[in-house]
Symmetry: C2
Subunit: 350 residues, 2 copies
């Protein structure tokens, strides 16, 4: 009896559809012989959908998505400064909407540097770490407000909400991951200023650390982490941090490991109550959309994370190996989005 | 009649006293022939003072400091994890205490890369920008709190408060500065998530921009700024941003321009109601303290910023030129803190 995985596919805007086409190509190749079938439901969400219908994410969309086993998303967001999108905030309504509604508490973002990939650092050393970013709390909760808008007396507040419940599940995930890796966990925060949230995170890491005596923990302020990320990134194994610091840190991590064209991510609901969502870290890049210029590697890497999350470990491993083999042979000669996808897929089928 | 400048000198902890000794050496050299006298009041504040007396910053300290014309500060903060300092939070009580009490709304942090300085980037290009960081608002206001501390139901909140009044004065300062430089201003924020604070900052920049038609403005999300900072830092001229993003961005800026041993800063009260404070961006580095290993260049650069702020433009220029000449001839051969200070001072006296 073959297993059926219900998969929501959300190609999205800009380069989203192009990179997702390649991700699906690789997914097909990796699972062809596995006995696992992917029953796909395609949703057209994003700026184009908003412009056509005025909807960002309806209850019906959400119900459809919540009934799937996993979600593969390309990228969402329209052309910057498009006046018709002024009040839409697609990223917030759709991307954050899904992360919050589906309780994606772990935002998993691995970074690995390959010798063949040109990066901005002169001598980075071996770089291979994972950022475990909290995904449902912090400054992202949308609990802010404005008083006296548009006046010289305007006050704009943003509330960062952090709970023991929310931090602990992410911290546990990070410790488990560190145990499978190089047994090192770094908490990044700003405890000397954000004493309340920082105190909570430090306490939880300290408490959970007691259960993982084989994992060494340390602490770094977010500003110091900036320095170490460019000076000595090989020191990191697993980094655990809050939503906003994680956002900032992972773009830097992507940049130093060859650009966010390679950076994959998983928005995980580890408890399995809702489908997890897999997406490249990059955005919709409308400036290069439709021209086969985007690198689909990040989207394909997200497929590897998805397969792993679904328990299809061998299939995930094959995708990762195919990506790494492809990357290892990159010469800098330009290839189209489809050429890269086909190259990776055919390594798997071969 | 000679002008007297009342100067508070706060050497602080760790390497603070060593770098401040060199900063004073250079200050003396630069102002010897100027007719300006610096009447110094030395305050011993920081971790050592706290351990001796239990005080971080008394009302009397504050009154003494507020009565000066300027403040030169080394670095404060004890040995990390010293249990006796657990609840002291010297950085917050003293550094932030002074920034807030003296209304240091502009935190000015220039970054410039010198060809002779080894940095982490392979091909940075010409890097010369200034971050104008807001210094009295945002997530630094200390308006957070904890509910059910220490329990599995703990909630830790941090409130970021942003006002039109607070943003506008900093934005105006940044535009003025851009006009004296390469006429380019970049707002860095996270408007797609922090819609309230981001909306305020965008509105103020948009409004003030109308008065500076010769300054080109653009906008960058903080995460995207991470990427550009390592990929194409030469694109920046003046960056204006909030307190927390500014903290993060300036450590990265310091790192890519040769390390925070070179990064100077000014905490400015542009209206002149209170003394402005000048300090290296680096911390007290207790691990290398007392061994003449610290680079005093950041502290000396802070003297240059101070002289400029005091209207001693020619003297400031001489310090900057001496620093740049010294840096240009650096070979990587180790020098003591005092040797670097003396070398820079003697270029001025020569
Ligand atoms: C688009 C934006 C809302 C999102 C975030 O801030 O989380 C993105 O930057 C990311 O990192 O996935
Ligand atoms: C020590 C700390 C409170 C301070 C800050 O966060 O502002 C420091 O990092 C800085 O940048 O001056």
């Amino acid at each position: 009896m073959s297993r059926v995985v219900k998969l929501a596919v959300i190609p999205g805007d800009g380069i989203g559809p192009e990179v997702i086409a390649e991700a699906e190509k690789v997914l097909d190749a990796a699972t062809a012989a596995s006995g696992v079938q992917f029953a796909k439901t395609r949703l057209s969400l994003g700026a184009d959908r908003f412009l056509a219908t005025g909807d960002v994410l309806t209850d019906e969309d959400l119900q459809t998505i919540a009934a799937q086993d996993a979600i593969l998303l390309g990228a969402v967001g329209g052309v910057p400064n498009d006046p018709r999108l002024k009040n839409a905030n697609i990223e917030r309504g759709l991307l954050l909407g899904l992360r919050f509604a589906l309780d994606h508490c772990v935002n998993l973002r691995p970074s690995k540097l390959f010798p063949s990939v040109p990066g901005p650092l002169a001598s980075p050393g071996e770089v291979d770490f994972v950022v475990v970013r909290e995904g449902t709390e912090g400054a992202y909760v949308g609990n802010g407000g404005v008083l006296r808008p548009g006046t010289p007396h305007e006050i704009a507040n943003e509330l960062s909400v952090n709970t023991a419940y929310g931090a602990e599940r992410v911290v546990r995930y990070a410790f488990d991951l560190a145990q499978k890796r190089r047994h090192k966990l770094t908490l990044v925060h700003k405890t000397n200023v954000l004493v309340n949230a920082g105190g909570l995170w430090s306490r939880i890491v300290g408490e959970v650390a007691g259960e993982y005596p084989d994992v060494a923990t340390d602490y770094m302020h977010i500003d110091a982490a900036m320095i170490h990320m460019v000076d000595s990134p090989s020191r990191f194994d697993v980094i655990v941090t809050d939503n906003l610091f994680g956002d900032i840190l992972t773009d830097l991590a992507g940049a130093i490991t060859g650009g966010i064209g390679l950076a994959a991510s998983g928005n995980l609901n580890p408890a399995g109550e809702f489908p997890s969502m897999f997406e490249p870290v990059h955005g919709s890049a409308p400036d290069i959309a439709g021209r086969q210029k985007a690198d689909p590697t990040a989207a394909i890497g997200s497929v590897a994370l998805m397969l792993d999350h679904l328990g299809l470990t061998a299939e995930s491993e094959r995708v990762t190996q195919a990506i790494e083999a492809d990357i290892a042979e990159r010469t800098g000669a330009p290839r189209t989005t489809a050429e890269i996808g086909t190259a990776i897929a055919s390594r798997i089928s071969a």
